[in-house]
């Protein structure tokens, strides 16, 4: 498990910004087209998808969640969890659980996108639950960035820190960094409340509010640090360590140089 606070922003972040920009400017129509397509696909989850999902579920998930997703001592019920929860948990590699611990950690994804969709369709078929957001719901191009910041600081920063870098919770649990998360997973986390996280339903934070928040997170994640090295964006503790480890050592070395005898 990589430690969260030292996890740097992804080296490909710049490429991603450029890519996203191109995508937004150049391929807007195409994106909208794809979006409606995806929406249509999820709306019409076929019975074949459900039965495929059922099979995947029985092999991969039922040992903990129960043969009919009714929960066991090892895992909670998934009835009513919805496709969004499946997409989030399986799509971020948190499920299937790699190792028991305080909470499931992000990990390598074990299923293909189609398989995840099938699993989701199966869980959704058991009882209604939050659906995977459509591309339209995720499109934050017109969202109010500053308002997103206000909502982020009111609702998210308390656990995920001012820069979305994550933070500690009780007894070894933690709020993960959100800056590497995809828009879809951010949205799904808010509507499903995975693990310790509370649910921010669509009537308390509307889809529009969620778009604003996502836009703010994206802006944070992609924003450079005008001051130079960010020191992990975790606040004054890192600055204090830096001042002792770098500042005082460098200045002390200068003092040693001044005091050293010349031959």
């Amino acid at each position: 498990m990589t430690s969260l606070s030292v996890r740097r922003r992804h080296p490909l972040a710049t490429a991603l910004v450029v890519g996203l920009g191109l995508l937004l400017v150049g391929g807007l129509y195409a994106a909208v087209g794809q979006a409606s397509e995806a929406g249509a696909a999820s709306a019409t989850s076929t019975t074949q998808q459900v039965s495929e999902g059922r099979q995947l579920y029985v092999t991969g998930c039922s040992s903990c969640h129960g043969l009919n997703a009714q929960s066991t001592s090892n895992g909670p019920t998934l009835i009513g969890a919805g496709a969004a929860a499946v997409d989030f948990q399986v799509g971020t590699g948190r499920m299937p659980l790699a190792a028991p611990g305080a909470q499931a950690a992000r990990g390598p994804v074990s299923y293909t996108d189609e398989e995840i969709a099938s699993l989701g369709a199966y869980i959704a078929s058991l009882a209604p639950g939050p659906a995977v957001p459509t591309a339209e719901q995720l499109d934050y191009a017109d969202a109010d960035l500053a308002q997103g910041g206000v909502l982020f600081r009111t609702n998210c920063a308390s656990c995920h820190n001012f820069a979305g870098k994550g933070g500690a919770l009780t007894r070894g649990k933690y709020a993960p960094s959100v800056v590497e998360s995809t828009d879809k997973h951010i949205y799904e986390a808010m509507i499903t409340g995975p693990q310790a996280m509370p649910v921010f339903g669509n009537n308390t934070l509307t889809p529009e509010d969620k778009q604003q928040i996502t836009k703010y997170i994206r802006t944070l994640a992609d924003s450079p640090n005008p001051g130079g090295l960010a020191l992990g964006r975790v606040g004054p503790v890192a600055e204090g360590v830096f001042v002792w480890v770098v500042g005082i050592i460098v200045l002390g070395a200068a003092a040693v140089w001044i005091g050293a005898k010349v031959s």
Partner: protein
């Protein structure tokens, strides 16, 4: 009557005619300062303070100490249209709309962190070398005062930008003020001009931050330096260095160039640091709002120990007769720091009382030779570091996959258990080093050369240490074990003298302080050892020669 011919000379005469400065300067321009890197740590603090004055003055030109709410409309897009105080908005303007403003902010903040850190390492040097002993006790007190002022100044500066972190810090400060029995509520209302956060506090804090505390620091630094000049700097033991002289380089020109140059070096390094490393990115925190909070809400490092103590102290609160006393705040935030700083300030007087040492000291101790003092110092630092770790436990927990609950429990136990362990270990190490010094004096240094005597015996060759080292060792260890002697506790009639109990405690403390000190070799021992070594060498030589095939 003018005798000077050069322009510089004429200018000097012009000045001296009016100030009489030549008399004063002729003595002080060739003032001698001993050369050692550890003597420059205080200079780092001094120079950081000058840098703080310079960069701070720049910031005052643009910063607006006002809590009036405005709508931000500057260059930083993610906050555009957000309601915030003028103080925060002007801090954003400094960061984004004033050329060099961000650099100046970063210089100011890095210099502030370095200021307190440099004071701390300077304090360690003074403590562990015993530079606080007579006649320098008052200068130690001024130094402790400066440390306190520096921490207050730093905290007030941290609070001025009115971002989410600084506002949270103030909220905690208000909670601490409220916990003061009887007058806390009133104090809080007077400080904040009513309820928290009000509209008055930042302007008030501003005048404290830019006038009151810096003025006090400036005055204290002046007194601190005048005392250094008057006492002349301490020096490490060594050949030619005694209690009655000071050996080093004259102020003019060498020290002026070195110390002056060091100012530029410190300044340059801090500017370079500010060019490449972010500090206090207030735009990420957002404006202060009492309903918002961020994970990792922490103070700057020098307040960290207080935050740590607040975290680990048990939840004790007493309610009686309609009044509440919050020990869970009062003790960690007010009583404990009070005790810590009082003990720190009084240490020179306590130690002198325990050791009964009334002599002046200008030769510094080697920390090992004052095993008890060094161990006490390490014990105090251990205590402080554990509090510091507790204050950062959530950051550490996320970085190393630990549980904050486990860390709090470990800190609660550690803060009681580890300092005494550190004391014992340090004392053992010091005594070991003392023993090694004694061996070197008596038997010389181990050369690592193994020789086989014709008798078949293996010996390691010892070589005599240099006279310089011998002098340094003897001088450093001189009278390190002089114990305070209990005065006659009873008079002739067997009646205990007044103050007998206090004196008894004092004598016991004194014995404890000097316990186990390894005595320096006496002149006789040294003489005998030298004699013995010579004999041994001759003997070995004879054996070797006898064993040689002829």
């Amino acid at each position: 009557m003018s005798t000077a011919t050069t322009p510089v000379g004429k200018a000097g005469e012009y000045l001296d005619d009016r100030t009489g400065g030549a008399t004063l300067l002729k003595h002080n321009l060739r003032k001698v300062f001993p050369d050692h890197w550890s003597f420059m740590l205080g200079e780092i603090a001094l120079y950081s303070f000058i840098i703080l004055l310079l960069s701070g003055t720049f910031l005052t030109f643009f910063y607006k100490p006002s809590m009036v709410e405005v709508i931000y409309n500057g260059s930083y897009v993610p906050l555009n249209g957000v309601k915030m105080s003028e103080a925060y908005a002007s801090t954003l303007d400094i960061s984004f709309d004033i050329r060099g403003g961000l650099l100046m902010r970063q210089i100011h903040h890095w210099a502030a962190l370095i200021f307190v850190a440099a004071i701390s390492v300077h304090l360690f040097r003074i403590f562990f070398t015993g530079a606080f002993r007579k006649p320098r006790e008052f200068n130690w007190l001024i130094g402790v005062g400066l440390l306190t002022l520096a921490i207050l100044e730093g905290f007030s500066g941290y609070s001025l930008p009115d971002d989410l972190l600084s506002g949270t810090g103030l909220r905690i400060a208000e909670g601490i003020v409220l916990a003061i029995p009887v007058v806390g509520t009133y104090l809080s209302f007077f400080l904040f001009g009513g309820e928290f956060p009000g509209q008055d506090f930042i302007p008030r804090l501003y005048s404290v931050h830019i006038l009151l505390i810096p003025g006090a620091i400036l005055a204290a630094i002046t007194a601190h330096l005048i005392m250094v000049v008057y006492h002349k700097h301490t020096q490490y033991p060594g050949p030619g260095r005694t209690e009655n002289n000071v050996v080093g380089y004259p102020l003019l020109p060498v020290y002026m160039a070195k110390a002056g140059g060091f100012f530029f070096v410190v300044f340059g390094i801090i500017v370079l640091l500010s060019a490449v490393a972010t500090i206090n990115p207030v735009w990420l925190f957002g404006p202060y709002t009492p309903s918002q909070i961020t994970a990792g809400s922490q103070p700057d490092w020098y307040i960290g120990f207080l935050d740590g103590m607040l975290r680990i102290f048990p939840a004790w609160e007493t309610t009686a007769f309609g009044h509440t006393i919050s020990w869970n705040i009062l003790f960690p935030a007010l009583i404990l720091p009070g005790i810590m700083f009082t003990l720190l300030g009084l240490y020179p007087f306590i130690e002198a009382w325990v050791t009964g040492d009334k002599r002046e000291h200008h030769l510094l101790d080697r920390p090992r030779n004052q095993a008890t003092r060094t161990a006490l110092g390490v014990m105090a630092i251990t205590f402080y570091i554990i509090l510091w770790i507790a204050g950062a436990n959530d950051i550490i927990a996320t970085a190393f996959d630990l549980s904050i609950n486990a860390m709090i429990r470990a800190s609660q136990i550690g803060v009681i258990l580890l300092p005494p362990i550190a004391y014992v270990i340090t004392k053992r190490i010091c005594l070991g080093l003392q023993r090694r010094d004694r061996d070197r004096l008596l038997h010389g240094r181990e050369t690592g050369l193994i020789r086989r005597l014709p008798s078949g015996e293996y010996i390691e060759v010892h070589a005599p240490i240099s006279d310089e080292e011998r002098v340094t060792l003897l001088q450093a260890g001189a009278k390190k074990d002089e114990v305070f002697a209990l005065p006659e506790s009873t008079d002739d009639n067997g009646v205990p003298a007044p103050g007998g109990l206090v004196q008894g405690v004092r004598a016991r403390l004194s014995r404890w302080y000097f316990s186990e000190t390894i005595p320096d070799p006496t002149p006789d021992e040294l003489h005998e050892a030298a004699h013995h070594a010579q004999e041994l060498a001759e003997n070995q030589q004879a054996q070797l020669e006898a064993g040689k095939p002829s």
